[in-house]
């Protein structure tokens, strides 16, 4: 456990009387949401708004020979039926590459397919009508003639010479390759007492936000301005991209993001159908609304994971891990997604494998291939579950091979808590992590020894329970190193403007966004604490490019760490301004004053001097009474981005306790524990709930979730009845504990917590299943761990 509180500056800003930092405070927006009075994009209606329905390809790969929309255009209510060719006159195509991912290639992608479709679900035409039902009826009458082409579906054969090349201009189906070699890997394996290898398989899954993607685009021809209402995590990115491809300036585009019904990375991208909706509004000079239905969500929301990774570990008999090696293959669909690209996940896998451990010997290859399936891209905990499952799976295999307890082998190899700053084998820089403190706390929380005793006793009764442990590191607070350096116009800084209004209340405009994480709450808590103003007097405005500072938004666990620090600094600046004016009014000095409970008080003894609302009244309405030379500035803006470290790494450890029914193959989750270190905790309850939500998404991947494609590239379970997601009945209680190592990059010291749960949950579950199945001498390295996979491993089917 470490602390940043050596710095008295830090103490003064955060450790104020009545500070809300570190306290559980209810989020300000909950009542609206609980009464059904939120405003999600799917609720928005505008005058003359039309509805678009996309006609989507039934084939994974086909030529479009012709589109006959004549019958559809005759239908009642139909406003237009638009083809890819027609729409390409309004909106230009794009290519999803970044220059820092060397060699990454992709082909131009259009808002609607032109001439050829590359996955089942790609939109070929747009039908716009007065109502959604009319558009759907008309869409059924549009006739598209296709010539089916061979589809690339198996990533293992995508690079074979006999396989069709999806984009002939790219010469092959290899989108990206990265090789990494650090230390002396061959020698390290040679010096190991045991070398263990395994093939890890990860199902393709998807985010399943409960509210599907939705957009309302409103082109106002008289103002030459486009307003986009969209549930996005990155409004300024949407503004930039929409402007770029519609030939507008950024100031001609406003992005408004009200309530968002789930995001998890699904809503940080810009999809072709959304681009088409922006363009249709411009073409038809009226508001157009697109709301995906659930089948469309499954076919077009980005998918993720879909990796096959060969892993190898060397270990000495004393438990020392000598080396890691991986060879990862991932399929990303027919295009690299724009603008964040689909190579980031594989790149992240290479970055993160072996990350918690001491060994410097690490070799990795990652290949990213095109396929005729839906596009994959960044989803919660990008690459982390893959890297964590491979690393922790290998560590458990190594422990088993040398007969060592899984906890003991970790104790012997995790980077020491006093070894920082240091670097990982892939060159990542760690400022301060706390693996050992976290592991020790986890072991205490779960009562490891008692569980082991239970396990042994039950095993004798033919009940098979398992314990799985997974340590992990997590990338948070990204600087420009993620996207900016690669040329993407995705801001890594965030800004907050804070002002004191005429009644002594505070208004904050922040560039981070809210999708339920609690961005509004944490901003209000920080600002309220610094300014000495109660939470009910702080209002937060976010999600509107016309009314917030320019910034990145909420993704990659950056809201609290980056947006929170900007809020802290802006509030400090405003605090100084307020105290300057108060000192002038009170004939005192700023140093003798403080702000507490919505009023200026004397710093020494807390005597009330003047209420904030009285001070504001004087400043706004009777500035003539102020001493000469005083120009009150009751508004301050600050921006923040980490500069010294490209990312703030966090760490943690998870444990799963579960029971495997060896007759049916069903896994029953009994309990899950997490200890993580996200630095300064602003609101403990919000952090814990982020972690629990993340864990459950990881548990879904571990046990249920998989997008199942057939060999022709057809997604066969594109609905919520066939694609299984975690429901309350199967989920265990999850205990969360913390170690706190604030980052010194910011005064606030907060790192991210949004993805930690997802990063390690699947690894913990897989290790627990293998632990449960130990008497059967079988090891499974594939997720989801469906009954079929388990029974097959047990030789029962």
């Amino acid at each position: 456990m470490t602390s940043a509180q050596e710095n008295p500056e830090t103490l003064s800003a955060l450790d104020r009387p009545n500070s809300y930092i570190g306290k559980t405070v209810p989020r300000p927006n909950l009542d609206r949401l609980m009464q059904g009075r939120g405003l999600y994009v799917s609720d928005i209606e505008l005058p003359r708004m039309a509805h678009v329905v996309f006609l989507r390809s039934p084939h994974a790969h086909a030529k479009i020979k012709g589109i006959d929309a004549s019958a559809a255009k005759q239908m009642q209510g139909v406003i237009a039926v638009v083809s890819g060719e027609e729409l390409s006159k309004i909106i230009t195509p794009w290519v999803g590459v970044l220059s820092h991912l060397k060699g990454l290639k992709s082909a131009p992608q259009s808002a609607l397919a032109v001439d050829r479709v590359c996955w089942q679900g790609e939109a070929v035409a747009a039908v716009v009508a007065s109502s959604r039902a009319q558009a759907e009826d008309a869409a059924e009458l549009v006739e598209v003639e296709y010539e089916e082409l061979d589809a690339v579906t198996d990533m293992r054969t995508a690079l074979d010479s006999a396989t069709v090349v999806i984009h002939p201009s790219l010469c092959d189906n290899l989108a990206f390759e990265r090789n990494h070699d650090a230390g002396a890997v061959d020698q390290a394996f040679a010096e190991a007492d045991e070398v263990v290898e395994a093939d890890f398989v990860f199902g393709r899954h998807t985010g399943v936000t409960l509210e599907p993607r939705s957009v309302v685009a409103d082109w106002n021809a008289t103002e030459s301005r486009l307003t986009i209402y969209q549930g996005t995590q990155a409004p300024h990115m949407v503004q930039n991209i929409a402007a770029l491809h519609l030939g507008l300036t950024e100031s001609q585009v406003r992005v408004v993001c009200k309530d968002v019904g789930g995001s998890f990375g699904i809503k940080v991208h810009i999809y072709a159908d959304e681009m088409a909706t922006y363009a249709l509004s411009k073409l038809l000079r009226r508001p157009v609304k697109f709301v995906a239905d659930r089948v469309e969500s499954f076919n077009t929301d980005i998918h993720a994971r879909d990796h096959r990774c060969k892993g190898k570990i060397g270990v000495r008999r004393d438990g020392t891990i000598t080396a890691f090696e991986i060879d990862d293959l991932t399929g990303i669909g027919p295009y690299s997604m724009y603008p964040r690209t689909s190579a980031i996940e594989a790149n992240q896998v290479v970055n993160l494998v072996g990350g918690p451990y001491l060994t410097k010997n690490y070799r990795a290859r990652a290949r990213v291939v095109f396929q005729n399936k839906n596009v994959t891209c960044q989803y919660r905990a990008v690459g982390h579950p893959i890297a964590c499952s491979v690393t922790e799976g290998l560590v458990d295999l190594a422990a088993m091979k040398i007969g060592m307890d899984p906890v003991e082998i970790r104790r012997r190899n995790l980077i020491a808590d006093d070894a920082y700053p240091c670097a990982s084998p892939s060159g990542l820089r760690f400022e301060q992590l706390s693996h050992h403190a976290a592991l020790a706390k986890l072991i205490r929380m779960m009562d490891y020894e008692a569980l082991r005793a239970d396990q042994a006793a039950l095993r004798a009764k033919n009940i098979h329970r398992g314990i799985g442990i997974a340590s992990f590191i997590e990338v948070t607070n990204p600087s420009a190193a993620f996207y900016g350096v690669g040329g993407a116009k995705i801001s890594s800084q965030d800004g907050v403007a804070v002002r004191l209004d005429a009644q002594g209340s505070v208004i904050c405009q922040t560039s981070i966004t809210e999708q339920g994480q609690g961005s509004e709450s944490l901003t209000a808590q920080i600002v309220g604490s610094v300014l000495g103003v109660s939470m009910d007097r702080v209002r937060v405005i976010l999600g509107d490019t016309d009314n917030t500072p320019y910034g990145g938004g909420t993704w990659a666990s950056r809201g609290a760490g980056i947006g929170g620090e900007a809020a802290l600094q802006a509030a400090k600046a405003l605090r100084k301004n307020i105290l300057d004016v108060a000192a002038a009014v009170l004939q005192s000095t700023p140093g003798e004053l403080d702000i507490v409970n919505n009023g200026i008080v004397s710093a020494v003894d807390g005597t009330p001097r003047i209420d904030l609302n009285e001070l504001a009244r004087i400043v706004y309405f009777r500035p003539d009474t102020l001493p000469p030379g005083i120009q009150p500035e009751f508004m301050a803006t600050r921006h923040f981005v980490p500069r010294e470290y490209p990312f703030a790494f966090t760490n943690g450890v998870q444990a799963s306790w579960l029971e495997v029914d060896t007759d049916t193959g069903f896994v029953k989750l009994l309990k899950h524990w997490v200890v993580e270190d996200c630095g300064t905790i602003i609101n403990p309850q919000l952090v814990d709930e982020q972690i629990r939500g993340g864990v459950v998404q990881g548990l879904g991947a571990a046990l249920f979730e998989k997008c199942v494609y057939d060999e022709r590239g057809q997604l066969t379970n594109a609905n919520l009845a066939d694609y299984l997601v975690p429901m309350s009945g199967e989920m265990p209680d999850i205990d969360v504990g913390h170690v706190v190592s604030p980052t010194l990059e910011s005064e606030l010291g907060a790192k991210g917590a949004g993805e930690a749960g997802t990063a390690g949950a699947a690894a913990a579950v897989t290790n627990a299943v293998n632990d449960a199945l130990r008497p059967f001498g079988t090891v499974i390295t594939e997720i989801p761990l469906t009954p079929q996979v388990i029974l097959a491993a047990l030789g029962r089917i």
């Binding site: 909950l30 609980m34 999600y40 019904g261 709930e689 997601v725």
Partner: protein, 161 residues
């Protein structure tokens, strides 16, 4: 094409007359005709529970019920049970426990939870989890929801004679 059918029913205490196509489902009717957008649509095939409303006192998935089937019925939505104060304690437990993140599942969750609390005086955690098993929440991990409902069970029990 079929023609519109006249229906009349009571929604949140208000008498509603409308003329709707037989294929229109109740969720779309509530949202699009009555602008009661609290009833959410997550899947439109009866799996997620976001569209849960009460018809004649029983919870139903309004995406699976046609508006014409609600003819002569009494329909209550999240707006109705919020305004009447019927679930104020449940909502306050949800608030205290942060039992919602994006809030999209929440109206359906609250309708389902209230249904359980009306049927059973002292459901345990597992019974709560099972009753909510038709309501999908992608954000929370469910534990906070279960905690909030458990708290409400306790406070309501305390109030009983």
């Amino acid at each position: 094409m079929t023609t519109a059918v006249a229906i009349s029913f009571v929604v949140n205490g208000e008498h509603i007359e409308a003329s709707v196509l037989p294929r229109l489902n109740l969720a779309d009717f509530l949202r699009e005709y009555l602008k009661l957008t609290g009833t959410h649509v997550g899947c439109e095939h009866g799996v997620c529970g976001a569209c849960t409303v009460r018809v004649n006192g029983d919870i139903v998935r309004s995406c699976l019920l046609l508006a014409v089937q609600a003819h002569n019925a009494t329909v209550e939505t999240i707006e109705g049970v919020s305004d009447s104060g019927e679930i104020a304690d449940l909502q306050s437990a949800f608030r205290d426990r942060n039992a919602l993140q994006c809030g999209f599942c929440t109206p359906g969750m609250l309708m389902a939870a209230q249904d359980l609390l009306k049927q059973s005086l002292s459901p345990n955690r597992q019974q709560i989890r099972e009753h909510l098993s038709g309501n999908y929440c992608r954000c929370t991990g469910y534990q906070a929801i279960v905690d909030a409902i458990e708290t409400t069970v306790r406070t309501r029990a305390g109030r009983l004679p």
